[in-house]
Amino acid sequence: MQEQPRWRRYLRFWGPDIAADVDDELRFHLEMRERDFLAAGLPPAAAREEALARFGDPDKVARWLRAHDTRKLRRFKRTQAMSDLLQDIRYGLRRLWKAPGFTLAVVLVLALGIGATTAIFSVIDAALLRPLPYPEAERLVAVYGPGQNPFSFPQYLDWKRDTQVFAGLGVYWRTTYTLTGAGEPEMLQVGRMSASVPRMLGVEPRVGRLFTPAEDLPGTERVVMLSEALWRRRFGGDPRILGRTLTLGEQPYTVIGIIPPGRRSTVPTALAAAQKLDLWMNLRLDAEKNAPRDMQFLDVLGRLRPGLGLTQAKERTVSFARGLKEAVGTDQDVSLVPLERLVIGNARPLLIALAGAVAMVLLIACTNVANLLLARAAVRRREIAVRAALGAARGRLVRQLLVESLLLALVGGGTGVLVAWAGVAGLRALGPGSVPRLAEATVDAKILGFALALSFFTGLLFGLLPALRASRADLAEVMKEGARGTAGGPARERLRGTLIVAEVALSFALLIGAGLLLRSLDRLLAVDKGFDAERVISSYLLLPSSRYPQAQQQAAFFREVRERTQALPGVQTAALVSDIPLGGGANGGFAIEGREYPRGKEPFAEKRIASPGYFEALRIPLLAGRVFSERDIASAPRVVVVNQALAQRYFPGESPLGKHVDFRWDTSGMQEIVGVVGNVREQALHQPARPAIYIPYAQRPADWAYLVVRTTGDPHGIVPSLRRVVAALDRNMPVADVRTLEDVVAAGLAARRLGMALFGVFSVLSLVLAALGLYAVISYMVVQRRQEIGIRMALGAQARQVMRSVLSQGLALIAVGVLCGALAALWLGRFLAGLVFGIGTTDPATYGVVALLLAVTALVASLVPALRAARLDPASVLRSE
């Protein structure tokens, strides 16, 4: 044993009260001195006085001694605590080293639990917790017009006059321009915006300058800022780019700046939250300011006045809107959405559900480790009881065991950080576009701190109970038990049983979550999209208005493209449409001939322009009438096709064929409904189809189109010939946004797939952990009952009876666990409500399957120990007694 410093010895006798001890010592001295003087014959008063005189100032001495002793005691306690801790750590490390199997199992389980939790936390941190990378991002709001729609130009100009709500108001919209004249023609993603937008987003140009407010005005120069990526890719990083003229959509634009890459350069539009822009273009409102009020497609970004809360700001918009309504006459209500909420969008429920799921995985891991520790504690009971009997304080024993669990937790946490690091990398690779700001997720100092705190917390969580329990061991009882060759009483068995029940319950709830998401995804995949995406490829074409100013020219170009594509080998059907399904698109109010609707209650529909062959190419079924044909040309009678949803909503109980409709801001005159087609999910897979009107391209030309092609073979194989067709018609026309419709469908499911995959991984993990826990507990019970089983068998019990009795123990635990888990899942189901599609959160089929799965797992986990019990040789068991 290590030699103790000398001063430790007396501290065992050190009273708890330093002041009293000091006083005692000094008083004893004074009284002894006084007694001696009395004995020498001095009168009492003189004796006391003389004693004091000899001593000096007792108060001063007492003060000095007290201060000294207090300091010393404090130092002593600190040193002792440190040295005890170091001793505990050394001892713990030695013990863990000596049990490598146990240590490895615990570290592995913890690494998975802590790693998964840390990885999910880093995703949540990036998406929800970290502020947006804009200056004073909390004051930025997205502004929507009436009915949560985008703004129109007149509305924007109206609201520019406000002085009470916004310190700044900016407008932007995404569009595309074709860059020509410098190598291959290329379609570029362009943001047209007011000068205030880059400033609100805190963008600093790398070189050059930002737009000036004067460049918002009509008739000013056309200027652009290049993204650094485009500048490098297209212009080789030419330092003399500033002042150069680019040809965009056949018009000259002057380059005024370069925008460096970075999070701030991502304009957060509601339509494309994370799409980077190639070009930033000044607003230069020309003809647009006279655009109709219901041509709503502008994103508006506002900075609230300093000190103005969201609620207050909303109140003020109401009063300003009232004034506008009196002046303009139409509904002017706007809504404000904090930018943060806009960016997170609908990923919040998924993230919260994932956080809950991963917390449950961690709890299961803790429970499992607690169970392992309990089993180990049972083995160590003798050692602990002996140490307690030899004088180790209970607190010290508890601490010793806790230090051991904390060591395990820290090693597990360290390994977990590696798991998290790999997990975050995997998530980023797996799910681009599924969770906002996923690319920003990293394992940084904050995440490491989180993992460390988590490790400590889990160490306490799974270590405390076994430590307290083990330290309560009674020596006599343990020794008696030891003599009988068993360990652990009924209380211990009950505790381990409880832990298994908790594990099974958590696992059940997680499996329910995974099952619900899996079934939702299944339902979504099985949803009738209204079209057939298989072997269909789409690409985007945009005609520069300078070279195709006339509607006839546009119509002619697109007709030519379609006919030449149709003639390509491997093409089944080629067609054009203004917007492909599942991505949203134009919509608006329309009039029905002979009907009047009150203001604000006008019929509303999705508007798609389509060429002949579109419904065939996408296999959208024709329900009544006819689809477009080559005869529906500009000079022919104007026709439209509507979908079933429109027919049912606006023409219930009658045939819409022969009726006339017209979009209000498309003053092309009334059009006759000639056909009804099936509903297509134009917005998203989970959103039921809205009423829709299809207009033939020939009668309502546009300068853009998606070319959709159904192929006979691999759709990607057709792409080179497509490009050749377009280039033959117009050398300067790029073919952009080439995607198969299957990819479009898959992209819409990315977030759900990610959520499902993670829930799946978590629940399988939990199931394996629960099964292992159950296996360990049942095996342990069999070992404990060896003698009893041996005796029973010696007395004639059949192997089958023994097996049944062991199995029933396991099944009883599972039954209770499943019951608790079902109750928990019923309650937790509400958090999945936003993610579940097509089934209820209490879907009985899911519950049934999960319960069955757990029962089978439990059976398998108990079967091995049960078989082992049944194969016991009673003779050898009794002999080993």
């Binding site: 000398r6 004893f28 002894m32 001593f55 001495v61």
Partner: protein, 114 residues
């Protein structure tokens, strides 16, 4: 801290205390009493300064203390010299003796003043 009790005789007082404890363990008053007896009451120390001096010796591990019962059955704190204390006493005492002898030599030199 201002001027501590015992500053004056600090080194010497420590030496006296260690010497007082060389034979047996004593409480504070016992130490004072022994010094008084041995010197015939010539060396009178300020008794209050004894205790800080004892604490310092204890801090340097030259003495250790325990609570016990005095000869008149009262609770008293007893001090005992340690092995290190003895070594220190031996070294300190011999240097003191050399010094004292030197002083005596000086004082006894002709012409005598005593």
């Amino acid at each position: 801290m201002g001027r501590e009790p015992g500053d004056l005789l600090q080194g010497t007082l420590g030496l006296l205390i260690l010497k007082a404890l060389a034979a047996e363990e004593r409480h504070g008053y016992g130490i004072v009493h022994w010094i008084q007896d041995v010197t015939g009451d010539v060396v009178q120390i300020e008794e209050g300064s004894l205790y800080p001096a004892l604490r310092r010796l204890e801090d340097r591990a030259f003495v250790e203390s325990r609570w016990g019962l005095s000869e008149n059955n009262r609770r008293a704190r007893f001090y005992a010299i340690t092995r290190e204390g003895r070594q220190h006493l031996r070294a300190d005492a011999s240097s003191w003796m050399r010094f004292a002898r030197a002083v005596i030599c000086v004082l006894e030199a002709e012409p005598s003043v005593v």
